[in-house]
Symmetry: C2
Subunit: 117 residues, 2 copies
DNA sequence: CAGAATCCAAGTGGATACTG
DNA sequence: CAGTATCCACTTGGATTCTG
């Protein structure tokens, strides 16, 4: 859902952006990939509790929107790595203030770690 | 969906914030109220195409999350005004970079007007 | 390992009608 | 005017199973 997917159907930049990051796991994916590239299963474990189908779907959408890059290595066993594109990185930067707001205004519970977005 | 509603169920500030602005019309409401207070029907017309039920539900959630303030005037005919709280205003500020990102990276179509969030 | 396919559950949004 | 009350449709996400 986004960028080229629904051209001219937004009323302001925010709901356009919301369409890109609207999926339930997308911001978490963004957050993870902001650190380093991840393999599929690895990413799945990192998010904890996403089914393959859903994660694959969200990654496909993020790829279509030019947010993540999908690199397939022709090996056995198969290996696929996901990473942020430049646009994805810029999206993450734009998301930073919102992350800060959430941390200040909403109860977050994760274990003490790097203060992510 | 938010703040006090799901304490300790987020992994980072962003998905916490996403829970607050997750509704389909919420960011549009935020955007409108950022300009000035609105009455119910007025707001509904401004958004264009929201049903009363849905708008009422979203406003109620935003109110529970401390984003909007609901002021009831005891008059005939009844009058209710919605406005941003301080927290709502700060959320809007945190949303600004995302709005800028959306405008630069996604096709937005609205008529030339004040560059909103 | 990295998914595709299928089927299903739930949440979310919408249409319409009615009320204080 | 500002909602509430129902009922309904669709989208999203999830569980399970299967494959290159």
């Amino acid at each position: 859902m986004a960028t080229v997917r629904r051209p001219g159907s937004y009323h302001c930049g925010i709901d356009a952006a919301m369409d890109v990051i609207g999926g339930k796991w997308k911001v978490l994916v963004l957050w993870a990939l902001d650190e380093r590239p991840y393999r599929f299963g690895e990413l799945r474990r990192a998010l904890g509790g996403v089914t393959e189908k859903v994660l694959a779907a969200q990654l496909r959408e993020l790829e279509e929107d030019g947010i993540v890059h999908r690199e397939v290595y022709d090996e056995v066993p198969p290996r696929v790595e996901y990473s942020l594109t430049a646009r994805g990185a810029s999206l993450n930067e734009a998301l930073a203030p919102l992350g800060a707001w959430g941390r200040q205004n909403v109860a977050v519970v994760s274990p003490p770690q790097v203060p992510g977005p």
